[in-house]
Amino acid sequence: MPYPLLADSITLELEAQEPWPQLITLYQPYEVEQILLPDNANCLAVQAFLKMCGLDFQIEPRSNAEYMSPSGRVPFIKCGQFLISDFDSIVTFIGNKGTSLSDHLSANCKADMRAYISLVNNIFINAELYICWVDETTLNEVTKIRHGSVYPWPLNHYLNWQKRKEVIKKLNVLGWYNKTLEEVCNEVQNCCTALSERLEGSDYFSGEKPTEVDALVYGHICALSMINPSLPRTVQKITATVQEFPKLLEHASRIGRNYLNNCMLESACDFEMCASSSKETLWNYSESIEALPPLSEDSFEILLLNP
């Protein structure tokens, strides 16, 4: 089968011509007002991955990041002439440049890691999409307001409708649309159990050093466990499911401490603290992200996290 391989090697060839290292710019939606659960998890995962690789990057929040991305998904990075979106592609791209977190692993171990990446990518992302776009309460109380927050009046309704249609079509194909919330929580629980089993007593999924899976799991566990308690009960259910796995929370906070050295990790591990923190403290952050002009009161209520 010449074609796909040919295409792959052409990209590799093109990428090789770029000087390296280069400044990486990470584009993502606004974290405070706009970003939704699945995107947030992915952005955190990519950030963690880049930090683990020891690469410098700049975060560039854009309200239309979704439409700038070549695949329609956020986050994406700009590196020289290349725009690369999706966790997998970014990992491959950085890997082609010679920086890889899993080089020291055996081939067998690498294959396992790929499988776990698939597991996380499918179960967590679909569950997050389900919560955001299928569950009626969350959809009306959070998703529509946040997703539409950056667009003017008639456009926000249209774009919400369009996005919802797209997500539902995808979930339908994957067999997630007809699940009940219980079933979704069960899936998440199964996935967390599997990850927890795999982690056993070690610091990271493959021993002493973190790999791509660790970054990805960190992103999702962080995003899911840090959901603001003022959110609808349905979202809380998922959070509660994730909270049942102390090993994963510990793992997330370890990565946060060692690689992202910011304060949110403490609160990731200590949910109570996150729950009790007031709206002001949640809102009161921003190191790399320029704050948007204040929007409606509602949009602040739905902070999903406090990076």
Binding site: M1, Y3, P4, L5, A7, D8, P70, S71, G72, A107, N108, K110, A111, D112, R114, A115, Y116, S118, L119, N121, N122, I123, E166, K169, K170, N172, V173, N190, C191, T193, A194, L195, E197, R198, E200
Partner: protein
């Protein structure tokens, strides 16, 4: 004791079933040595296959069916560690993410395969009114899958490249993961082997006119022997049946050409046509020959001879 009754898609090409999910359940049952009554059918009009009937209950999802088997103490994963069970789940999801779209593409989107192999097969396999409706329906469903998975991509060839490239990587991973061992997790086959077999066997065995991905799989020799091993051990009947059938067909093809006595037919046809045209020309007076009576009377005689041939 109640029997398990399993309804599945019927098989061909040496496969017990052509459908991935049906294969998965069937292979898992065989691994456990479950006494099954298998109905291989060609009309899925009431619901999605596979269907398991047990104790007057009906189960249709693979997950549920395997759960039923386990409740009845048919379990290949009992002796595995929890870490290995986690691995099964991860691989299951990975195969579904990477290989399922590729199989759908090969089965229902790739035009050459659909026109030359898949659609004719399904048309033949299903009873009369349904064979006009279902193949088209499956094709539409497959197209919807790719529209949903690649919402920003319109060009089908780009999607094809992406799908194949993902699937290839996945096959390579499986090949390294299996290595030299007999089965994926231990000496005995487990659910993971059933899952892997269910994706690889149709891809390997179907005589696809466009064998792009198939060739890649054939290059991973340990996977090919893996599939052959399971087929031989658990589905030897189907294997042999197909082999003998194929051999018989080959022999038949060798002796009975598509057009036996081609030259003779050509000659007779050519002669007959010339004769007819000549008759026409003469009867309409386009060609006039000052013929003698005896020559004219010859023509109808000759005509009747050729007709008799």
């Amino acid at each position: 004791m109640d029997m398990f009754e399993l309804t599945i898609w019927k098989g061909d090409w040496g496969l017990p079933s052509v459908d991935t999910e049906c294969l998965q359940v069937l292979v898992y049952a065989k691994f456990n040595g479950i006494p099954l009554k298998v109905n291989a059918v060609g009309n899925p009009f009431n619901s999605n296959l596979p269907i398991l009937k047990y104790n007057n209950y009906t189960f249709t999802k693979v997950k549920d069916i395997i759960e039923v088997f386990r409740e009845n103490n048919y379990n290949t994963e009992q002796n595995l560690s929890r870490k290995e069970c986690a691995k099964i789940m991860a691989y299951d999801i990975m195969l579904k993410e990477k290989l399922f779209p590729a199989l759908q593409f090969i089965w229902w989107v790739d035009e050459k395969n659909v026109n030359e192999l898949i659609r004719p097969w399904y048309c033949k396999a299903m009873p009369f009114p349904f064979n006009f409706y279902y193949p088209g329906k499956f094709e539409r469903q497959a197209r919807v899958i790719f529209e949903a998975l690649y919402p920003v991509e319109d060009d089908i060839s780009i999607i094809e490249n992406k799908v194949y490239s993902e699937a290839q990587k996945c096959l390579t991973l499986l090949s390294t993961s299996l290595g030299e061992s007999l089965y994926f997790l231990s000496e005995k086959p487990t659910l993971l082997d059933a899952v892997v077999y269910s994706y690889l066997a149709p891809l390997l065995k179907a005589p696809l006119p466009n064998p792009a991905l198939q060739n890649h799989l054939k290059a991973c020799t340990n996977l090919v022997t893996f599939v052959a091993r399971i087929s031989e051990r658990y589905f030897s009947n189907e294997c042999h049946e197909y082999k003998t059938k194929e051999n018989a067909q080959n022999v038949k093809q060798y002796t009975h050409n598509e057009f036996p006595n081609k030259r003779r037919t050509q000659l007779v046809a050519g002669f007959f046509v010339t004769l007819m045209m000549a008759t026409y020309a003469f009867s309409n007076g386009i060609l006039e020959v000052s013929a003698k009576d005896s020559e004219i009377s010859d023509i109808p005689v000759e005509d009747s001879i050729t007709n008799n041939e």
